[in-house]
């Protein structure tokens, strides 16, 4: 009655090489993006008004010979295509030029401040993402509940607050102290001058991180909450959720085991896609709290303005954001079985 399962027998395991090709395409795309950044940076900064050599002099008196010397040292006496090639070549060799202000290689300056920025943005990002995802999952699971209304409301208010303003207020309230609130938090920096060693040092840094971190988290976490909320909301009505319920699972089990993993994956891409936003926030937060990081360096570069430094920081920030994105994309594809071999 039933014909033999011919196709069933010749069935083979799903192939995995699609992943490699995907990763290759993504990396290729990222390289293209980086190339675009380099080209755009070159031309944008060449459009700048003014003579970079004179800017380098910062108003000090220089003889024509000195100026010419500087010019040829910077390769500015060459034609535009030559300059471009030189720029690309240097950039590819991680030579981002010498800061006007500091007279030191931009890369060194960045290197010195990278750690602080990574510490701050990394911590803030992890906190914001976990807080946002946790609250978003709960809020989306029971839309319209008191928890939902409260957390969405709070996050929306914070979302509307300019970062620097919130930072200033927090500084004035919790570092300076207002009325009965003692100013227990430090006013600046990443560590005390007389920070103790060992565990005490960690505690000291943690104390310094509280306010800047809080500022960044407060402003940023709303978007994660909202994205997570709506993707969980999308899952709530799905048939597999009903199936899970019919299987006799508890409500929170369904949320944790089924809805959240499904909702998480699209959220994660968005998280990484908006990393640039967090980095942008770091510029103001670091300026307010005198945090010795990249954002502060960039802010300083803008105020001076120190164009090589600005250009270098911009390049670095952009390229690392692009790389993060690519990484996230690839990892996401590794993690999500739906797209893994599709």
């Amino acid at each position: 009655m039933t014909a033999p399962a011919a196709t069933e027998l010749i069935e083979e395991r799903p192939a995995r090489h699609g992943m490699l090709r995907y990763a290759a395409a993504k990396v290729g795309g990222a390289l293209l993006s980086i190339a675009m950044v380099i080209v755009a940076t070159f031309f944008a900064f060449r459009l700048l008004p003014g003579d970079p050599v004179r800017a380098l002099a910062q108003g000090r008196n220089m003889t024509p010979e000195q100026l010419d010397l500087e010019r040829s040292r910077l390769g500015l006496d060459k034609s535009l295509p030559e300059q471009f090639l030189q720029f690309v070549n240097q950039t590819l060799h991680f030579d981002l030029g010498v800061s006007y202000e500091y007279k030191r290689p931009v890369l060194d300056l960045i290197g010195e401040r990278l750690g602080a920025t990574l510490l701050l943005t990394g911590t803030a990002l992890v906190m914001a993402v976990s807080l946002g995802i946790w609250q978003g999952a709960r809020a989306g699971w029971k839309p319209g509940s008191r928890f939902d209304k409260f957390s969405t409301g709070v996050s929306l208010v914070l979302w509307s607050v300019p970062t620097f303003w919130l930072g200033l207020l927090l500084l004035m309230v919790f570092a300076a102290g207002v009325g009965p609130i003692p100013g227990i938090f430090p006013t600046r920096g990443i560590e005390s001058v007389d920070a103790p060693d060992g565990f005490g040092y960690i505690l000291d840094v943690a104390k310094h991180m509280v306010l800047p971190c809080l500022t960044m988290v407060a402003v940023v976490y709303a978007q994660y909450l909202l994205v997570m909320r709506s993707s969980v909301l999308d899952e709530v009505g799905q048939d597999y959720v009903t199936t899970a319920r019919a299987k006799g699972l508890r409500d929170d089990e369904i949320r944790r085991r089924h809805a959240v993993p499904n909702a998480l994956l699209p959220t994660v891409t968005l998280v990484f896609m908006r990393i640039g936003f967090v980095v942008g926030g770091a510029v103001t937060v670091e300026a307010i709290f005198s945090w010795p990081g990249l954002g502060q360096l960039f802010y300083e570069a803008i105020r001076v303005p120190d164009f090589t430094l600005m250009q270098g920081t911009f390049l670095l920030i952009t390229v690392s954001v692009i790389l993060m994105n690519t990484l996230a994309d690839v990892v996401y594809h590794l993690l999500d079985p739906r797209v893994r071999s599709a």
Binding site: G59, T187, V193, R250, Y299
Partner: protein, 575 residues
């Protein structure tokens, strides 16, 4: 780690160190710190500000003023090596021979023909006589340490403890955060009275004020007027308000020319007319500017670019010469000069060719200049002159107001050294740029024979009172001819905690400044309030513990809440 009795003073700075290498550092904070660390040939006398002995015990000049011989003091570097003339000679020769080493103080050795040493004697031969020879701003570096450095231009000098000859030894530097200096026990004048001096960097001036009020820092200099006012009412804080070394003035494009006297730029023709400049001068209510822009913490300028702090050189207009705020008179001057008021309320050139519309160039990101512009615009409007504000970033600003002369009126200001020669030189013909835009450094594109002559005279005049007279004449010339119009001399505004700092001597000792002054005097003479050396550190670690505990509690509470909710979730199942 420190013994409990150690006396630590913390100084706040709203600028971070750009480099620990004195050959490269240009920021004020850096040169201050280097002044505390290294000896110079001479140092301004704390009372008179006249050059006095520092590393150079004594000196002689040859009659032609071209050869200077300094006798270097018998003292020791902080690592125990003796200080010799070799060190000084090495320092200067390095700057003469190595372009990288010129970055910070290049001009100071420009006039040097040769520098030689023998034992403790240092001989400097000049290309031309130089009156400011004794105000040499170059710190003397230990040759035995620095000669090992390969490329000075790339050297960060982050080796600690640093080898120094001044009152303090840098022992730690965290970039953008702080510098720690220890007292130099072997300092030849004697050990400073405190043990440690820390300089802490703030990005955010408001945070620095908070820091001072909280006791995170003990002293902060160079305050903006509002920040200074914010210190009012705190019993523990001394508000230090003294005449400053700075003048704020307007630079007027009165017909800019290049060094070969060709016109350059696009300045408004009306400004070539001294009467128009005069009228503008009359239309400025300097007192009001002082009150509103500087919160009253400045002195209206009735002189020119040399501030009253330098009593010897300060010149002030009086009587008829003095230009006061008098809009009616300003209008009359313009009327008389034939600048007729148009129907739209704007004056035109006597030949009717052009309206009197001036641009006012200021820096971006400079609130005080912004405010100044708003006031000037208001007053000039009453003269029938339109002023539009043009914001420029600093490189563009330097270029347009110093080289290409693409401006009408620009803001300007100069911090004047005890010897005002350099600021006076900025108004010399020779400082004008060449036709190709090279060179420069002029503050006004000024080129006046009378002024030039006076400058040459003072250069050669080694008798101080006579030289002072010449300098006063120069400033008078600037005042009356008005290529620049001085607005006010901002006060030096600082604050320090008297519960931490027992005494500090300003420079000059009478009504002087504390931070950013030339020489190390204030910070060498600094005395801490004794009993309370570690209070700040203690409270710091206490709050640390509090925060730690509080953080732990918060985490526990959150975890508890989470668990509670989960348990509740079991009950609160959904349908």
């Amino acid at each position: 780690a420190e013994a409990p009795a150690s006396k630590v003073i913390r100084v706040g700075a709203t600028q971070a160190m750009d480099s620990m290498n004195p050959f490269l550092a240009v920021r004020l904070v850096s040169s201050s710190i280097h002044r505390w660390m290294y000896g110079f040939l001479t140092v301004p006398d704390p009372k008179t500000l006249q050059p006095s002995a520092d590393l150079a015990e004594s000196w002689t000049t040859s009659p032609d003023g071209l050869t200077w011989t300094f006798k270097i003091r018998q003292a020791k570097w902080s690592d125990g090596q003796p200080i010799t003339a070799e060190d000084a000679a090495w320092t200067f020769n390095k700057m003469i021979t190595d372009d990288g080493a010129k970055t910070a103080n290049g001009p100071a050795v420009e006039n040097f023909a040769s520098v030689t040493a023998s034992g403790q004697d240092l001989t400097i031969k000049l290309k031309a006589p130089q009156a400011s020879m004794l105000d040499n701003p170059v710190p003397i570096m230990p040759k035995h340490v620095w000669e090992k450095v390969g490329d000075i231009a790339k050297y960060e000098a982050e080796a600690y403890p640093a080898v120094t000859s001044g009152p303090y030894i840098a022992v730690e530097h965290k970039k953008d955060q702080y510098v720690k200096l220890k007292a130099n026990p072997d300092y030849w004048r004697g050990r400073p009275k405190i043990d440690e001096l820390q300089v802490i960097f703030y990005d955010n001036p408001a945070a620095a004020i908070v820091g001072l009020k909280k006791g995170d820092i003990d002293l902060i200099g160079r305050l903006a007027p509002p920040d200074f006012d914010a210190l009012k009412g705190d019993d523990n804080i001394v508000q230090w308000n003294q005449q400053g070394r700075r003048a704020t003035y307007l630079q007027i494009n009165h017909g800019a020319t290049t060094s070969d006297n060709k016109p350059i730029g696009d300045g408004h023709p009306a400004l070539k007319d001294p009467r128009v400049r005069q009228a503008l001068h009359y239309a400025i209510d300097k007192q009001k500017l002082v009150d509103e822009v500087q919160n009253g913490l400045a002195k209206p300028a009735d002189g020119s670019i040399v501030p009253p702090m330098y009593k010897d050189f300060f010149w002030e207009a009086s009587g008829d010469q003095k230009v006061g705020f008098d809009v009616a008179r300003a209008n009359k001057i313009l009327d008389d000069a034939g600048y007729k008021l148009g129907a739209d309320g704007i004056r035109t050139m006597p030949d009717g060719s052009k309206k009197l519309t001036f641009r006012f160039s200021i820096h971006t990101d400079a609130p005080i200049e912004e405010k100044l512009a708003e006031y000037l615009t208001g007053w000039f409007k009453e003269l029938g002159i339109t002023l539009t504000t043009k914001r420029l970033d600093s490189s563009k600003f330097t270029e347009e107001t110093g080289t290409t002369a693409l401006f009408d009126i620009a803001i300007s200001g100069w911090s004047v050294n005890p010897d005002p020669e350099e600021v006076l030189a900025t108004h010399l013909c020779s400082r004008r740029p060449t036709a190709s835009g090279e060179g420069g450094g002029t503050e006004s594109f000024y080129c006046d024979p009378q002024y030039e002559a006076l400058y040459q005279q003072q250069l050669k005049e080694l008798d101080r009172p006579k030289r002072a007279d010449l300098i006063k004449k120069m400033t008078e010339r600037l005042y009356t001819d008005a290529p620049v119009i001085a607005l006010y001399y901002p006060n030096d505004l600082e604050g320090y905690r008297k519960d931490r700092i027992a005494s500090i001597k300003p420079i000059p000792e009478e009504n002087g400044i504390l931070y950013g002054g030339s020489g190390y005097w204030p910070f060498y003479t600094l005395e801490a309030v004794s009993e309370d050396g570690t209070a700040a550190a203690d409270s710091g670690s206490n709050t640390g513990v509090i925060v730690g505990v509080a953080g732990g509690v918060v985490v526990l509470l959150a975890a508890g809440l989470f668990l509670a909710r989960r348990r509740k979730g079991v009950v609160d199942d959904r349908e």
